[in-house]
Symmetry: C2
DNA sequence: ATGAAAGCGCTAACAC
DNA sequence: GTGTTAGCGCTTTCAT
């Protein structure tokens, strides 16, 4: 690194400012600002000199000062309000987050991750989100009746949700933009497939439908197809974990040893269910056909037998969330999503499709 | 929510400012500021009125403005420069991050996570870190010769590293503060244990010692004990993954079928090694004794047989990192860590201990 | 093409 | 106790 010369030495003991760079290169702050932001017309010669001084001083723009006037930060919050370890275990989040990050980065925005585990963290996170640190927020994996959607709306912060948020009874969100898979349609397809295979006693292992909209929707899809034959006896609720799937499968088998198929609302749960089936000496798909949901490659391709499941483009959904957000933050005058102005910016439901492997 | 009255309606169309609150409650900005920050003496009556108006307006302080004058943000960056999915799979990071977050939150600081996967992301992240968004940084899981330590030092941003960073050949960090386990000592203890069991041909499966200091140190510990009997034939390098551990075990067995013990430098790798041993019909610990490293409960307690391993307090190390950082950020006048001023703030090596289960 | 000056929203002396 | 004032570092008209 070059030693700062007298000409460029900074005044105070702190980090160099625009002023320091201006002084060092013998131009005004405005000019330096123009160079930094690659804007207006500046003589090439001047540009170069300024650049040198910037490098020499190790100048980095203070984004607080910048934010104060531009009201932009080039940073987007990515918020997950779930126990961190659940996030770390489930491949779904890995993919989802990867899609989000890719698109954010491609757009030159800095993704800033916020995890919320405890109730008490909401106020602090709310202040952070409202404090102007970020230009917008992408939220996923919210818990049931999460206060976040309401807080976000009150703050007026542009946001897009991953998965339709389950809202509190009374509260009504003016309009919240989300990206979700066609959970209901996918579930219907899965169950229809089982029906087409001639299965007659089709059970289901659901997600936590008191907690997540996706679980509700997948169960609804199951019911759509089975109608009255969807006896409560054939429905067992679990929690989207492998262990939960295994327990639910066991419960189902104990209650109704005659079932010949099961639609499991997630691949992770399905892998648990398959294990129980194997332990009990039941052949898949001969004795019992199994269909999962998610199509997480690391799981579905390596179960025994490989899992027939409903595919959703998880990474693509992440990217879509980011793109939707930018469509709002890029244009400050853009229409706020509101009931009064419909279609300005609306939620997206992405398609799903059945991937037939060997379990059904 | 109360409807803003004429008295409190904000002037511009944007978010309410201190000024708006002041106007609304008939006091000066300073007073409002005092109330918000719970500082100086303000009449209880006034406090209440201001609070009301704040709630009514949904006022949230603009932290850019605040940062500009206080030079603090109450946010700490937590940076991991590893492929995100590696982070998501390894329980080590989950624990480490949990410790970090707990301590940060307890201190009222907002943890802000930054993942770096690609080379190209460094400049953007550097600008973010240097831009005043955060008061300090906690970095872990750096890649080999990561440019981050150098960047951080140049920026003068207070930082603490998780694990001793491996530095580029030429470059010399003035002094970088880190928290690390006593990897070398732990490895020594593990190998000594095997020796005390009467094992004579003790192999080792190492981590990526070209990438991580911990791998170097654990290998050094192995050599410390075995000295000349540490033949290169008994050493197999892997990459801290389960799969890598399995492959290394196979390679070792092919090369030296006579080994009677193996020190595996991580639990994840050890679980892979145990599987290979089982597949080959070798009994553990009868035929081959195995000792791991990390003591990750979800792994070590559930291997077959349960794994004897070296325990390190991962969560505690995370907390310690945060505490070390605060000791610097809390006191702006605090001594910068520098060779000239030794002991002002130095790295910490935390103890390890052997946990005997059944694999050795 | 470049400079001067105003001001973003807030805190921190300092007066009263 | 409370108000006044002066910036923090930057972008942005508006002159020139």
């Amino acid at each position: 690194m070059t030693q700062p010369t007298a000409r460029t030495r900074r005044l105070n003991g702190l980090r160099p400012t625009l002023e320091d760079v201006a002084r060092g290169s013998g131009v005004s702050k405005s000019t330096v600002s123009r160079v930094i932001n690659g804007e207006g017309k500046v003589r090439a010669e001047v540009v170069e000199r300024v650049r040198e001084v910037v490098a020499e001083l190790g100048y980095v723009p203070n984004s607080a000062a910048r934010q104060l006037v531009t009201r932009r930060n080039n940073a987007i919050a990515v918020v997950a309000s779930q126990p961190q370890n659940r996030l770390f275990i489930d491949p779904f989040f890995d993919l989802h987050l990867r899609g989000i990050r890719k698109e954010l980065v491609a757009h030159g925005a800095q993704p800033v991750l916020l995890f919320l585990e405890e109730e008490e963290e909401y106020p602090r996170v709310g202040d952070f989100l409202g404090g102007g640190h970020v230009d917008g927020a992408l939220l996923f994996s919210l818990r049931a009746c999460d206060p976040l959607p309401g807080m976000i709306e009150r703050l007026g912060l542009p946001a897009v949700f991953g998965g339709r948020p389950l809202v509190r009874g009374g509260e009504t969100l003016r309009e919240c933009v989300y990206v979700d898979a066609d959970n209901r349609g996918g579930a219907r397809e899965a169950v229809r497939h089982l029906v087409s295979l001639g299965r007659e006693r089709i059970a289901t292992i659901t997600g936590p439908y008191d907690q997540e909209a996706s679980a509700v929707d997948r169960l609804d899809g199951y019911r759509d197809v089975l109608l009255d034959s969807a006896s409560p006896e054939l429905i067992e609720r679990a929690d989207y974990t492998r262990q939960g799937g295994a327990e639910a499968m066991a419960a189902l088998l104990d209650r109704r040893p005659d079932i010949d198929a099961v639609f499991v609302a997630s691949d992770l749960m399905a892998s648990g269910a398959l294990q129980v089936l194997r332990e009990r000496g039941l052949r898949v798909p001969d004795d019992i056909a199994v269909v999962g949901f998610d199509d997480l490659a690391p799981i579905a391709e390596h179960t025994d037998p490989p899992l027939t499941t409903v595919h959703q483009d998880i990474e693509g959904m992440g990217r879509l969330m980011a793109r939707l957000l930018f469509s709002r933050t890029d244009d400050p005058g853009a229409p706020e999503p509101s009931a009064a102005e419909p279609g300005a910016l609306s939620s997206v439901v992405t398609p799903t499709r059945l991937v037939a492997r060997h379990s059904a």
